[in-house]
C-alpha cells in the first residue's frame, strides 16, 4: 500500500517546514522576554512545533525529498525588546505557520495529508489565539485562519 504525494504537495510541505523552523527560532527569542506564565505557554508551543517539524521532516524523507534546513536567523517584523513585542512575534510566527498549513491543504488531494494539515491548522489557531489575546490582537480567533491579510 502506498500513498501518492505529488511534487506540488511536497513543495507545500517544505513551506510548512520552513515556517515551523522560523516559529521555533522565534519562540527561543520570545522565551527571553516573556514572564513566567507566558513562558510556560511558550514552552508548550515549542513542544508542539517541534513535533510538527519532526513529522514533516520524516514525511519528506520518506518520500525521497530533502527537508529544507532552518536559517541561521530570521528577521523579526519589529524589534523584540519586551513582553509585548515578543508576544507580537509569536502572533506573526503562528500566522505564518497557519498560512503554510493552509497552503498544504490547497495543494494536495491526499486525504491523510489534508487531515494532518487540518489538525495543524486547528491546533495552531488555538495557540495563536492565546498570543493574540495577550497582545490585544483582534479577532482572537480569525474567521478564516491561514488567510494572510
Amino acid at each position: 500500500m502506498s500513498v501518492p504525494i505529488d511534487d506540488e504537495a511536497i513543495t507545500a510541505l517544505q513551506g510548512a517546514l520552513a515556517a515551523e523552523h522560523a516559529a521555533l527560532w522565534s519562540y527561543t527569542l520570545i522565551l527571553a522576554f516573556v514572564p513566567g506564565d507566558q513562558a510556560v505557554e511558550a514552552r508548550q508551543d515549542i513542544t508542539a512545533h517541534r513535533t510538527l517539524r519532526s513529522q514533516v521532516e520524516q514525511t519528506l524523507t520518506d518520500v525521497g525529498a530533502r527537508p529544507v534546513s532552518a536559517q541561521p536567523a530570521y528577521a523579526t517584523p519589529v524589534p523584540v525588546t519586551d513582553a509585548l513585542s515578543a508576544g507580537k512575534l509569536a502572533v506573526t510566527a503562528e500566522a505564518d505557520a497557519l498560512a503554510a498549513w493552509r497552503s498544504v491543504l490547497e495543494h494536495t488531494t491526499n486525504q491523510q495529508l489534508r487531515v494532518a494539515a487540518l489538525t495543524a491548522l486547528s491546533e495552531g489557531t488555538v495557540r495563536a489565539s492565546r498570543w493574540r489575546a495577550a497582545t490585544g490582537t483582534a479577532p482572537v480567533i480569525p474567521s478564516l485562519p491561514g488567510i494572510v491579510r
Binding site: 505529488d6 514525511t59 525521497g64 490547497e106 495529508l113 491548522l121 480567533i141 478564516l144 485562519p145
Partner: protein, 170 residues
C-alpha cells in the same frame, strides 16, 4: 460558462518516487494509512455539498444572536463568534456561486430565531463543535480549490470549541 468544478483527475499524478511505503511513515504525518478510495472532486450532479455548511453557519449566527439577546453579559465572549459564522456563510456562498457560474443566490437567511428553549452558552458550545466536525468531515474530499476554505472554517470552529469549552451533557 461552465457548470461545475473543472475536471480533475481522481488522484494526483504519481511520480515513481512519490510513493510512501507503509511503515516508513511511522514518525511522519500519519500518511501510511491506506488511501480511501478516490478523492471526490465534487460531482457536478446533486446539490452543492457546501450548502449544509452555509445553512449551519447562518443558524449558528442566529443562535448566538438569540443567546446574546437573552444574556447580554455574553456579548464580549460570543459576538466575535457571531461575526465569524456570518463571515463563513457569506464566503461559502460566494464559493457556491463561483462554481455554479451564477451570481450569488443567497440561501434564505435563517428565520429570525424565535426565542429558543435552551438557547444558552451550552447550546452554542454544542453548535460550534458540530460545525467543526461537519466541516472537518468534508476537508478530505472537497476539490482542491475548496480545501483551504473548508479547512479554515473547520479550524475556526474547532478553535472556538476549544476556547468555549466542551458542552455539558446533563
Amino acid at each position: 460558462m461552465h457548470s461545475g468544478p473543472p475536471p480533475r483527475p481522481a488522484a494526483p499524478p504519481l511520480t515513481r518516487r512519490r510513493a510512501l511505503s507503509l511503515g516508513l511513515a511511522a514518525g511522519g504525518l500519519g500518511l501510511a494509512a491506506p488511501v480511501l478510495a478516490g478523492c471526490a472532486a465534487g460531482s457536478s450532479d446533486g446539490p452543492d455539498p457546501l450548502i449544509p455548511l452555509v445553512t449551519r453557519a447562518r443558524s449558528d449566527a442566529a443562535l448566538v444572536t438569540a443567546v446574546i439577546t437573552a444574556d447580554p453579559s455574553l456579548t464580549g465572549q460570543l459576538d466575535p463568534l457571531r461575526s465569524a459564522r456570518s463571515d463563513h456563510a457569506a464566503t461559502l456562498e460566494q464559493e457556491i456561486a463561483r462554481v455554479a457560474g451564477t451570481t450569488a443566490s443567497p440561501t434564505p437567511a435563517a428565520a429570525p430565531t424565535a426565542p429558543q428553549a435552551g438557547a444558552d452558552l451550552n447550546a452554542v458550545r454544542q453548535a460550534v463543535a458540530d460545525a467543526a466536525r461537519e466541516a472537518a468531515g468534508l476537508v478530505g474530499t472537497v476539490p482542491i480549490a475548496r480545501a483551504g476554505l473548508v479547512g479554515s472554517v473547520a479550524a475556526c470552529c474547532a478553535a472556538y470549541t476549544a476556547v468555549l469549552g466542551a458542552a455539558q451533557t446533563s
